[in-house]
């Protein structure tokens, strides 16, 4: 059975700064991610793993090299097209949760879908289903600061799933959590992978990295 590659990075280089004082964060990365993969990217800080995740998530663009996402070349697309793809095909989970403090849990989960333009009752229904799925049915109308760290990260996962993306990008999802909460989050992440989501996760904790199917180690902007 042939499995389609979700992500194909070829010779991706990322330079920062002006030509004279350029620092290179990524030195020609080649990476192929297949549908259903669960990859943990590890590496010391400053290795370029966050830059790589940003490029994969279309939050940043490579200086050179090519990037095929779902077999489409997305190397040179404009900002609005990037936003469109981020909105529909990628779900983000951040280390510091990044929830909006002034709106409730439900509104936070709905957030990506307001830029998609789905119907209001439909999106509320879906957001509630997702919150039930991550075990937060009793906290739908609470503000994020009324929840524990683990609960907040679960809200963020529900938000990442809102537009049914095929790809989930998680940047140190357990980095701000204690071991118990971290394990809860990993259980949910593994579940999602089992249900077919492709997952790329950055971590520096070996215990967490071991739970992924594949390990990609990065050092000095290169895949080891």
């Amino acid at each position: 059975m042939k499995i389609d590659p979700v992500i194909q990075l070829t010779g991706v280089i990322k330079d920062y700064g002006s030509e004279e004082f350029a620092t290179t964060a990524l030195h020609g990365i080649n990476l192929t991610v297949y549908k259903g993969d669960f990859i943990a990217i590890t590496g010391p800080s400053g290795s370029g793993k966050s830059t790589l995740l940003n490029i994969i998530g279309l939050l940043d663009t490579a200086t050179s090299g090519t990037y095929l996402l779902n077999e489409k070349d997305v190397t040179k697309i404009n900002e609005d097209q990037q936003a469109y793809i981020r909105n529909r095909e990628i779900g983000f989970v951040f280390q510091s949760f990044n929830l909006l403090k002034r709106v409730n849990v439900l509104e936070n989960v709905i957030l990506p879908s307001i830029y998609t333009g789905t119907n209001k009752t439909e999106r509320e229904k879906r957001a509630k289903e997702l919150l039930i799925k991550v075990g937060l049915e009793d906290h739908i109308y609470k503000k994020p600061n009324q929840l524990s760290g683990g609960q907040q990260q679960r809200v963020a996962i529900a938000r990442a799933l809102m537009n049914e993306p095929s790809l989930i990008l998680a940047d140190e999802p357990t980095g701000n959590l204690d071991t118990a909460s971290g394990n809860e989050i990993m259980t949910i992440v593994k579940d999602l992978n089992r249900q077919g989501k492709t997952i790329i996760m950055i971590t520096h904790e070996n215990d967490i990295a071991k739970q992924a199917k594949k390990l990609v180690q990065i050092k000095d902007g290169k895949v080891l």
Partner: protein, 395 residues
Amino acid sequence: MNIAEYFRLSINALMANKMRSILTTLGVIIGVFSVILLVSLGSGLQSYITNQISELGSNILFVIPGKIGGTSGPGETVNRLTLTNVKYLSERLQGIALVSPQIGKTTTIKFANKSNKNTNIWGVSANFPDIIKTKIIKGTFFTKSQEKNGSKVVVIGPTIVKNLFPNTDPIGKKITISGGKYTIIGLSASRGSSFGQNQDNIVVIPFTAAKKQFSIDIANQIYLSANSPALVNLVKKRAKEVLLTRLDEEDFTIMGQEQILSTVTNITNVLTIALGGIAAISLLVGGIGVMNIMLVSVTERTKEIGLRKALGARRQDILTQFLLEAVMLSLLGGTIGILLGIGASMIVAVFFVAVVTPWSVILAFLFSVAVGVIFGMTPAIRASKLSPIEALRYE
């Protein structure tokens, strides 16, 4: 993303900082309020003055010294409207118009130990009541023969009656004007006031008496009244021809009601615009307040902007959200300001004059929207251009 969605986002954001939103709105409220109120005052003044002038009647003409619109303004030339010229004009216009000079000055008049200050002494002809509507409530106006003889008789206005004769009948009493004793023969009805001048603090005497009393021979102005409104233009043309045989073009101006109206309208228009302009400055300050708060808000919500972008918001989504917030602040302020301004104008109208003009309301409304767009644009553009990675990293 539809427009209702943008509105919901903006309202949520504004409600999250209620106090700040209210204070920002207040700047716009005060600006719009002042524009409406001051423009209403200006317009009210204009319509009031216009009414006063219309009451003069349409067949009235005034000859005033100096040339309006000439090289030198009125007052700069020597007044050459002598009584001889007035007499000459009167003779030449016989049959088509009545003519009266108005000479005299402003002085204090006395009765017994009481005095009345700043009284306008008008020396006029016996035909004056036929030219300028003058209602005699008691007694009579002076006659042609009293005018001819230079009789020391006087018709006094309500202010003088009130100040000098609070309890007694003034008819037959003698008042002192510049040392001369004048017998009161009539009381004129109130004319109210116009141009800030009390029209009731006036005494009217024969111009012949005034000439002797003050040793003056020059009329402040000459009143003409055409025998019918249809004759006004003819009278004006003829009066000009007659006066030009004795005076230069620069020496006098003949004004009809229409010219006075247009002159006054010009002045009050300038006044209204000036008042509105001053008020507009406070609206500008309000706008700067909106911009200030929006800039603060963009900085404060950098992380939120980054998150929204990461989750799929395009530049225009962020731009619209922030622009709409600014417009809603100023629009809310504009609406409240308009309502307060109209309310205040109505209250002022009870005591003074004020007319709320639709154009000032429309203008203030559009202005407040413009303030929101103009002053909201910079912060909104700044927000929309933030890079999602950097914005997310912002603490």
